[in-house]
Symmetry: C2
Subunit: 134 residues, 2 copies
């Protein structure tokens, strides 16, 4: 008798966070958000749920080279601009510019299932202004 996967409180809460937050979030941010709504969930559980959601294709992994993994409910493929100082994130959509580069790499080098990771970094206007004046 095969047991179906179970609908647990933690799972629902994590999915809801990812849906509502709308942007790449870290495990810590998720946990704090759950605490704020009165739900204490262990980090192990969160990591395990996130891994499950990612391997189910429900969420995606992003990382901004700062040593923390972020998770996102990504409805359509997109990129981000991240402010180097305040870490503010905005979505960047661009019509698939890189599809032909991927195809070229596949053809020329014998790679299959070629994908890409593209992120932009910059200084947002608020931080730029603050930095001028100091």
């Amino acid at each position: 008798m095969m047991q179906a996967h179970r609908e647990t409180l933690a799972k629902k809460a994590i999915q809801e966070q990812l849906t509502q937050y709308h942007g790449p979030v870290t495990e810590v941010e998720i946990r704090q958000a759950l605490v704020r709504q009165g739900l204490r969930v262990h980090k192990t559980t969160i990591y395990r749920q996130l891994a499950a959601l990612v391997s189910a294709g429900w969420a995606t992994v992003t990382n901004f080279a700062d040593g923390v993994t972020r998770y996102e409910r990504q409805l359509q493929h997109h990129h981000h601009v991240v402010c180097r100082s305040c870490k503010r994130v905005e979505e960047v959509h661009m019509s698939n510019h890189l599809a032909k580069e991927e195809a070229k790499i596949a053809r020329a080098r014998g790679f299959t299932k070629v994908t890409h990771v593209l992120e932009f970094f910059g200084t947002c206007h608020t931080c730029a202004r603050r930095q001028e004046s100091h």
Copy 2:
């Protein structure tokens, strides 16, 4: 009396590794290479030298989302294709496709000093063949 920075054995060896290896290397790989040539250098030293080389613009930092930082003597801006299973790396040069995207982001969103990070991932022919047959 201002002391100039000193030419040390470790520094020279690390720079030579980066020059010869020609590809993004981790601290561990560098240290092992130095050991192989009879030089025991502490990881702290390597990290500190790498940080210095990066901030001097002599080396660049890359990371392939596997939790390890790689360093590279990057003579001209380029990207990489990384095999998802064997981690083989090849350089990808593309005439700056993304410059106009960066400019657009700067203009439309008020970001300054916009740069990008782009890496390709795929399965190399060797690994693809191995995976078929199992």
